[in-house]
């Protein structure tokens, strides 16, 4: 079994699906000959030809809109938005078209497509290469929202997303493309090869959408996280010696509510962790759901560890990023009450 980092795993997912389904086409800015600024699409144009893998004009709106037309035709577009921070020019087409076409046509037309985009901070990318805008998509009925947190899931979820009948916004945590990051930015980065989830089977497999993964079992606290924060959360609970159950949500919409309820009913405490700004982040929805559905099991308020309600400030990367210190305080708080 090859050992893959996330980029290689995502690349392989493209290859597997493109080989199986001639209707899968891939386009986006710089993704053709060059293979994408993060190299996720490397080699695809060579293997599958220029009319299935090609560079697009710098027009996120146009990329999404033409993908809508292609999906209407019967193709399965897999498009890349170079950074999630640049998805907004395509927001109208995503919200008003991609998300609503199945519904407004009573399923006469469907919009199977995947919109891949690297997101998240921790790379000194400043305001426009660090954002985590996932909650802006979770509010839009008709979209699925997926965030892998390791190479195995990245490949399996991307294949599942491409094969899914519905449009999927596929957020890739760029901070962990090359290795899991536990939030200790001052320590050397570990490569994926040391992580069990880097063992990525060859060929076709899927990780189903809508299913969370319990990445650490525990009795005293439920931690809900996705993307990079899964690894930060895992490291923190270990460091704090808390017997926490850490759940990697993997899919935000549709949410694996059963896994969450099961865990919180067991632990009675819950901490939600995300990189995005706090106010109206997806953590708010999770807190609301947990308190609505597990109120009488809760021994303490559900806590949130999040980014601040500010734009992402370049030099203050590590004061902004919800790292081990913010985790520690929150863990102490939620366990104390």
């Amino acid at each position: 079994m090859p050992t893959f980092n996330m980029i290689q795993a995502l690349n392989d997912a493209h290859k597997v699906t493109m080989a199986r389904d001639e209707d899968v086409v891939v386009f986006g800015e710089d993704i053709g000959y060059f293979g994408g600024v993060f190299r996720v699409t490397e080699g695809l144009q060579k293997q599958f030809g220029k009319t299935r893998v090609f560079d697009a004009p710098i027009s996120e709106g146009g990329i999404v809109a033409t993908a809508v037309g292609m999906a209407a035709y019967g193709l399965k577009p897999v498009i890349e938005i170079q950074f999630a921070d640049y998805i907004y020019p395509g927001y109208d087409q995503i919200v008003s078209e991609v998300a609503k076409i199945r519904y407004r046509t009573a399923a006469e037309w469907a919009m199977p497509m995947v919109i891949r985009t690297p997101y998240g901070g921790g790379i000194f990318g400043g305001q426009t290469h660090s954002q985590s805008p996932e909650s802006l998509f979770t509010h839009i009925a008709g979209l699925k929202v997926v965030v892998p947190a390791n190479p195995y899931d990245a490949k399996g979820l991307l294949i599942a997303a491409i094969e899914d009948p519905d449009p999927v916004i596929f957020f890739e945590p760029k901070r962990i493309y090359n290795g899991p990051f536990d939030g200790h930015h001052d320590k050397p980065v570990k490569p994926w090869s040391k992580h069990p989830a880097s063992e990525v089977p060859e060929g076709h497999y899927t990780v189903p959408l809508g299913k969370a993964a319990v990445v650490r079992e525990g009795a005293d606290l439920t931690v809900l996280a996705w993307g990079t924060m899964v690894h930060v959360a895992l490291a923190s609970v270990e460091e704090q010696g808390i017997d926490a159950e850490v759940i990697d949500l993997r899919t935000l919409v549709p949410l694996d509510i059963e896994a969450i309820e099961r865990s919180v009913e067991k632990t009675g405490r819950c901490l939600v962790v995300h990189e995005a700004p706090r106010t109206s982040g997806f953590g708010a929805e999770l807190v609301a759901l947990v308190q609505e559905r597990c109120f009488y099991h809760l021994e303490a308020p559900v806590e949130r560890v999040t980014g601040w309600d500010t734009p992402y400030p370049h030099a203050y990367e590590w004061a902004y990023f919800p790292g081990p210190k913010r985790m520690k305080r929150a863990l102490e708080k939620v366990m104390a009450e």
């Binding site: 027009s59 209407a72 046509t105 509510i257």
Partner: protein, 422 residues
Amino acid sequence: MSQKDPNLRRNAPKLELHVPEPAFRPGDTPDFSGLNIPRAGTAPRPDTSAPATETYPLTTALVRVLGDDHRAVGPWDPKLDADTLRTMLRDMVTVRIFDDRMYRAQRQGKTSFYMKCAGEEAIAVAAAAALGREDMHFPTYRQQGLLIARGYPLTEMMCQIYSNKGDKLKGRQLPIMYSDKAHGFFSISGNLATQFPQAVGWAMASAIKGDSRIAMGWVGDGATAEGDFHSAMTFAAVYNVPVVLAAVNNQWAISSFSGIAGAERATFAQRAIGYGIAGVRVDGNDALAVYAAVKWAAERARSGHGPTLIEFFTYRAEGHSTSDDPSGYRPASEAKAWPLGDPIERLKAHLVALGEWDDDRHAAMAAQADAEVRAAQKESEKLGILPQQGKDDIESMFDDVYADVPWNLAEQRDQAVAEARD
């Protein structure tokens, strides 16, 4: 603050903001004698394989076939047989009758909203005739003529307008936001201009698959200002996409005249030049010119000569929608004064001039169309009108958000069903 700025060069000429104003406002007497309307037959017709540059003079001209004597003249004459012309005429008449009846139905409280295409009937009807059945349209809300010309059942349209039991869209869309795949009619979006680049994407897909079907995208003059217009033009140009892009310039966008979209300085057809694609400006009230231009653009697309932007120059003869009263912003008499005439009258006169039509036959045809529309209305109203809807089949509200119903929607469905029983 700006006034006190020391940077202000007090001796330099003062700048001015130009805010375009239509020629006539309520109270004015519209006078279009200054409008330059080239004679029919004068616009050249480049070969369908000509380079795009050869079409540039056409972006400021006006392709017209029907002359003042009601004869078809010049190189763009599509030389259609009389049956085809009569079919087009009948479809246009049907569209107008349909519009009138549905407008009235809205006024009678049978539905929430309606939009006519009065004065623009030739455009969609002739475009439908010129493209193949298997080609795909990405229309706006003013191309009901496409559906009627392609034979989509009037009852289906009306059921959609009434959001009733027969509405295949399950009451989910605003009236007139039709969708029918089998008739090559993509779901209309309420968001302007979104369909333009989608048409390009569909045609890209067709090209990727080595198919032979092309797409046609539609946009209004006002909506050309949206970023999506530019996306469509850019992608169409870059990938030499087999698509026909139609900008229907009916000179009004609700209350804003076309100058607010840039028409004071350039025609909409001229936008084509900026992207290096073919462009043509066409008399949209001349069914033959519309037919010829679409046919020509389609041939270019099919034979690898890429996209064409067609501006259909026309006039929105009535209000924007049932929510609009145009007498608030333009002279009530403007529609009558508009010199390119009524597309139905013009096509009729042509058939008469050919000796293929007369007033009696026209009246009979119109009566038949009227009867068909009435019958369809009766039929569809049996399935309900809007005020009666929204009470049954509440569950259906939660279908088709996704292919499957996720837990949150299932829970909400149960709630909604229970609520409906309260």
